[in-house]
């Protein structure tokens, strides 16, 4: 199927002189159209909804910023801040632990170990959602295996809390970090270390002045990616804590499915817009960093 498409794309560029210019547009066009319809329309609908309010009595709609103001007050603000805090804490921990694990694997002499860890990371990084929540409920939940056998409940342990969620989130964030940082670690050339050694640098000095500065954009980029991933996570939290930890995703879901007051749909859209703005901010930090790390590791 790909063959037919590419043929269509390239035929107008049959002349060698024109090949550099012509094929791009035709091949990219379907993608652009698709994204405009499948992504652009819902995004615009969200934007529009976030700024409109519907008068229940007359059915008339009017433009307002009331939804946005509402979304930054009271329970909604608590949920937003709760999400930011949870994402920042778990992303930070996962960045550090993921780096350590990736470094341990990359410097290992056993190729099989490396392959195994990377494959497992690929699977586990996608093992979010409901199954992950249930696996942890079975392990550390109120009647979980570890909770029962180690008597954790007596020591005040509860999985359905902030730190419980952090522990669960790390389960997919650490593998994600391993996958993100491994190429960067591979890109650290042994010549750099040797050059530093030859100039009399110690191991610590090498990491302080060469290794970490080269890795820093990748590390920060990875952190930002993890933050975004944790920030957007909904399924795990929904299946695990219900609403005992205030999170913005849970609030939005409640409002969409009409579990709260009627007429809150547009506040949900405003909350979604808040999320998009935060995630957009995160991206604005991430992209330049990624470009910088690509320059060194190319």
């Amino acid at each position: 199927m790909t063959a037919t498409l590419t043929r269509v794309d390239v035929t107008p560029a049959a002349s060698v002189k024109r090949r550099r210019r012509a094929p791009g547009w035709l091949a990219v066009l379907p993608l652009l159209v698709f994204v405009a319809v499948a992504f652009g329309v819902p995004a615009l609908a969200m934007l529009n909804g976030a700024f409109t309010v519907k008068n229940q009595a007359t059915g008339a709609t009017s433009y307002t910023t009331a939804n946005l103001t509402d979304s930054l007050q009271g329970a909604y603000l608590t949920a937003l801040l709760g999400s930011v805090k949870l994402s920042a804490v778990s992303a930070l921990i996962a960045t550090v632990l993921g780096l350590l694990l990736a470094q341990a694997v990359v410097t290992s002499r056993f190729r099989a170990l490396r392959e195994a860890v990377l494959t497992a990371s690929g699977v586990l990084a996608n093992f979010g959602g409901v199954p992950l929540a249930f696996a942890f409920v079975a392990t550390l939940g109120n009647s979980g295996v570890l909770t029962r056998h180690l008597g954790l409940a007596d020591q005040g342990w509860s999985l359905y809390s902030f730190w419980g969620l952090v522990i669960v989130y790390l389960y997919f964030l650490i593998p994600l970090m391993v996958l993100t940082i491994t190429p960067a670690l591979d890109g650290l050339r042994s010549q750099w270390r040797e050059a530093a050694r030859n100039n009399g640098a110690t191991n610590v000095q090498y990491w302080r002045h060469v290794g970490l500065p080269v890795l820093l954009p990748s590390l920060l980029g990875g952190f930002v990616l993890l933050f975004g991933s944790a920030f957007a996570a909904y399924a795990t939290a929904a299946a695990m804590v219900g609403s005992s930890v205030p999170l913005v995703t849970l609030q939005i879901a409640d409002a969409i499915s009409g579990n709260v007051l009627v007429g809150q749909e547009n506040v949900a859209l405003a909350l979604s817009l808040d999320m998009v703005l935060i995630a957009g901010l995160v991206m604005a930090v991430y992209l330049p960093l990624q470009r910088r790390s690509a320059r060194w590791l190319a």
Partner: protein, 270 residues
């Protein structure tokens, strides 16, 4: 060297404990029921459970459709961008990063708003029929549309890495100077070199669709992940057993695909 090995041993052991204990505990949880002793009932019940097979089949169908659409859209575009149109490259990069900026929950909030337009504003237009058709619960096309968008960042990254590793222009020019048509050059010279990246993109999309919960649940469809969730409330053992199995099945699928495709990682490195 000894110090290095000790440090590595601690890290690897810690990781192994953290990642294996929940899996082991989940298995124990399903077979060691308090008051009943060791029993495998939970696993026996899965296949007969209400809604299990339809949910799984729906998820696999959605995954197949999503992979086909996303590859058809992305592979030609990405290869063409490597060959020319350098000014479009950042545009596509930004477009493919947009879904990262819009979390699934915000995306589904937008989608459900659009779907509500149907009954509210468009009931007399053909667009209404389209909106109804894409929400057919037997095969909700709207989910495929959403999943393709959500897969774009991963597919873009994977294909971009694959294309970075090979010199597309040289490959095409070499093939062309041997008398291949542009299409032949792409299919016979470029695509085989991209096999690893394409497989990688397919794995990621497959895993994404099989585990996707947010969009499906909030739009009211019941693929696999939503079914597990709905079982969880009433039958703890069963839901954990399915969770364990779903991890194993995903794992097996990914490994099988990797086996079919040969060496995806080394191919990507080229």
């Amino acid at each position: 060297m000894a110090r290095l090995n000790l440090w590595r041993g601690v890290v690897l052991t810690g990781a192994a404990v953290y990642f294996l204990v929940p899996l082991a505990a989940s298995v124990i949880f399903t077979v060691d029921v308090p008051g009943e002793g060791v029993t495998f009932d939970a696993y026996g019940q899965i296949v007969g459970a209400d809604g299990f097979l339809p949910g799984l089949v729906l998820s696999l169908e959605l995954a197949a459709a999503t992979i086909a659409v996303v590859l058809l859209l992305m592979v030609p575009a990405m290869v063409a961008l490597r060959l020319g149109a350098p000014r479009l490259r950042p545009v596509v990069e930004v477009i493919c990063s947009l879904p990262l900026v819009v979390p699934p929950i915000a995306f589904v909030a937008g989608i459900s708003t659009v779907l509500k337009w149907g009954p509210e504003h468009l009931s007399r237009t053909p667009l209404f029929q389209t909106l109804v058709a894409i929400q057919n619960p037997d095969f909700p096309v709207v989910l495929v549309l959403a999943y393709v968008v959500m897969a774009l960042p991963f597919v873009h990254r994977s294909l971009d890495a694959g294309l970075r590793a090979i010199d597309v222009r040289t490959l095409v020019e070499a093939a062309r100077s041997c008398g291949a048509s542009p299409a032949q050059a792409l299919v016979t010279a470029v695509l085989p070199n991209l096999r690893g990246a394409i497989l990688n993109a397919s794995f990621l999309t497959l895993a994404l669709v099989l585990g996707e919960f947010t969009v499906a649940q909030l739009l009211g469809f019941q693929p696999f992940a939503v079914w597990i969730y709905s079982v969880g409330g009433s039958q703890a053992q069963l839901s954990v057993a399915v969770s364990v199995l779903s991890l194993l099945v995903t794992w097996a699928l990914l490994l099988a695909l990797a086996g079919l495709g040969g060496r995806p990682r080394t191919a990507a490195k080229g």
